[in-house]
């Protein structure tokens, strides 16, 4: 794969990833477009610029770890890993079909290069902290990055992990909250509001940044600041738009877990041309 720091190159990769996402979910006839599309810039910036990883050597012990804790957004991770060369691009459209490596939620049994099987929400932050602690014991430069959903962080385990991470100064862990404002049943503010979210993380002892989660230079800057922050883990509260890039999906709870119809795919691909 060709790494890059160039925001306009990253942004054209992001557009390609979005095309994969809507296409594969349409082919599968089920899946979660909204939360896949909201995390595209975050994952593209991580995989092409930030993460120390090698698709040719996925088990390199000193690699950085990435965990998609909100596992239902698997299509964004699959598209990114395929474009990086971990897995075939040609079979992305077998998503969710019998025998496909592209399972409904990330499954290490089918893709060993994944760091974790996820799908039950609320668990990935603890996993990342475990990986961060192991790297410290091994004196490894490895860092762990974990993307959390905003609905997901209503789980109590997230806040147990948040306390733990700050107390144990696991500064090689970076959590990113995909703050798209929507969960399954509707808007987060109507279901169980999180605000003031950045203040919560700060008061739990995390170095906390707030950014526009679609602004690639801002994302790059935030990851650089996270890496430079010692003595505290970092949480990036990334303000995003659920369904980003497809006008009729944007900020509409309906598109949390519904697949586009072929005619809707056509419209979406036009917008993503």
């Amino acid at each position: 794969m060709q790494r890059t720091q160039n925001p306009s190159e990253l942004s054209s990769i992001a557009r390609q990833i979005r095309r994969h996402i809507v296409t594969m979910i349409t082919a599968a006839k089920s899946g979660h477009p909204g939360g896949s599309l909201s995390a595209v810039e975050l994952l593209v910036t991580l995989y092409w610029d930030v993460l120390r990883h090698d698709p040719a050597n996925p088990k390199w012990p000193e690699r950085d770890r990435f965990i998609l804790s909100k596992g239902h957004a698997a299509p964004v991770l699959y598209s990114v890993m395929a474009e990086c060369g971990y897995t075939p691009v040609e079979t992305l459209n077998t998503l969710r079909k019998l025998g496909s490596i592209y399972q409904g939620h990330p499954d290490v049994r089918f893709i060993p290069a994944l760091e974790a099987s996820t799908g039950s929400l609320g668990e990935g932050l603890s996993l990342a902290l475990g990986m961060g602690l192991a790297a410290k014991l091994d004196k490894s430069p490895s860092r762990a990055y974990v993307v959390l959903g905003d609905g997901e962080i209503q789980e109590g385990q997230i806040w147990e992990a948040a306390m733990f991470g700050a107390f144990h100064k696991v500064d090689n862990v970076c959590a990113i909250v995909d703050y798209n404002g929507i969960q399954l049943d509707g808007f987060v503010k109507d279901i169980l509001d999180l605000s003031p979210l950045a203040e919560k993380w700060r008061s739990f002892g995390w170095h906390t940044l707030e950014i526009d989660g679609h602004d690639i230079p801002a994302i790059q800057k935030a990851f650089a600041e996270a890496a430079a922050t010692k003595g505290k883990p970092t949480c990036i509260v990334a303000h995003t738009v659920k369904g980003k890039g497809v006008s009729f999906m944007e900020n509409n709870p309906k598109w949390h877990g519904v697949a586009p119809k072929p005619e809707e795919l056509e419209l979406a691909l036009k917008e993503l041309a």
């Binding site: 599968a28 089920s30 899946g31 596992g71 239902h72 969710r96 079909k97 019998l98 025998g99 496909s100 399972q103 409904g104 939620h105 499954d107 049994r109 089918f110 099987s117 996820t118 799908g119 039950s120 929400l121 609320g122 609905g151 997901e152 209503q154 789980e155 109590g156 969960q183 399954l184 049943d185 279901i191 169980l192």
Partner: protein, 320 residues
């Protein structure tokens, strides 16, 4: 239920749908019924209740353990709470709260797990509950129900609302065949003999009951007379009906969409061991499944009439 009727097995509603509709109807009849859900009202179908009684539906967000504990608090204060989520989440994340705050003090909470089994399909193993019956049966004081169709589900939900004490009801995502005439009456802890037979008994629960009926029809064509028992109450289990089936037919097959080592099968074996030991074959799940359509998974993981009929032939070969 008359034995040896022919079953049409027309596709009806999903059991989660029957749960949601019954709950909304109950909301009118009993002002004390309140509901908790964890960001899945559209999937568990508590959305029907939410529409009619928004002030009695507590949306807990994605926080199942807290939801169970809040439900226990509501029950302790005199309400009749139903809490619902995917079985895979409410029973696992809520288990410690179910144990200490509900089972142990015998609190009047009703837990309804939806999306049980592998028949949820494409979402895959993280959302598939294969151990919910094991967990629920591990909770003293709980009554554990596993209805096979929409009619049995309506009864189960209504029974739970009347009963004072903790109840777990297992429901599924996909539409299932209707077995029972509307309004059928069931008795808690009493198996239903759906098909009478003398050579072997097919014991089943949930979505697999319809497959057991079909298996009995296949076996009949081979001259094998198979009895079919629907175990809608997993706990307390009907030891009398199981013992009688073991004594009268001399061989059992147990079929369930659950881990075979910890669900209905082990309970039927225990009941038979206590009453009338007989050879038993077990049809169920042995490992995590995967993503595919519900039908593909039910085929691949052996939840079909053919699998039950094959197990019947095996157990008949073992019968002395």
């Amino acid at each position: 239920m008359p034995a040896n009727v022919k079953y049409e097995l027309k596709l009806g509603a999903a059991t989660r749908e029957a749960f949601g509709k019954t709950l909304a109807a109950l909301g009118h009849e009993n002002q004390n019924i309140v509901v908790g859900d964890a960001d899945l009202t559209k999937s568990t179908m508590t959305t029907y209740f939410a529409k009619e009684f928004p002030e009695r539906l507590f949306e807990c967000g994605i926080a199942e353990a807290n939801m169970v504990a809040i439900g226990a608090g509501l029950a302790l204060a005199g309400k009749v709470p139903f809490v619902s989520s995917f079985s895979a989440f409410v029973m696992t994340k809520g288990f410690e709260q179910l144990r200490c705050l509900v089972a142990y003090p015998n609190v009047n909470l009703k837990v309804v797990g939806t999306h049980s089994g592998i028949s949820i399909g494409e979402d895959g193993p993280s959302q598939m509950s294969m151990e919910d019956l094991a967990l629920a049966c591990a909770l003293p004081n709980f009554t554990v129900l596993s209805p096979a169709d929409e009619v049995a589900t309506e009864w189960a939900v209504r029974w739970a609302a009347e009963h004072v004490g903790p109840v777990f009801i297992r429901t599924g995502r996909v539409k299932v065949p209707v077995i029972y005439p509307a309004g059928s009456k069931f008795e808690i802890g009493k198996a239903v003999e759906l098909v009478s037979g003398t050579d072997v008994t097919l014991v089943a629960t949930g979505l697999v009951v319809a497959e057991a009926i079909r298996a009995a029809e296949q076996l009949e064509g081979e001259g094998i007379s198979a009895r079919v028992l629907d175990i809608h109450t997993i706990k307390p289990i009907d030891e009398e009906a199981i013992g009688r089936a073991a004594a009268e037919t001399g061989a059992l097959v147990v079929a369930e969409e659950h881990l075979v080592d910890s669900g209905l099968g082990v309970r039927v074996a225990q009941a038979a061991a206590k009453t009338h030991p007989a050879p038993i074959e077990f049809v169920g799940l042995t490992d995590f499944a995967e993503s595919a359509t519900p039908d593909e998974l039910l085929d691949k993981y052996g939840m079909r009439a053919e699998n039950i009929a094959a197990a019947a032939r095996r157990v008949l070969a073992r019968k002395k």
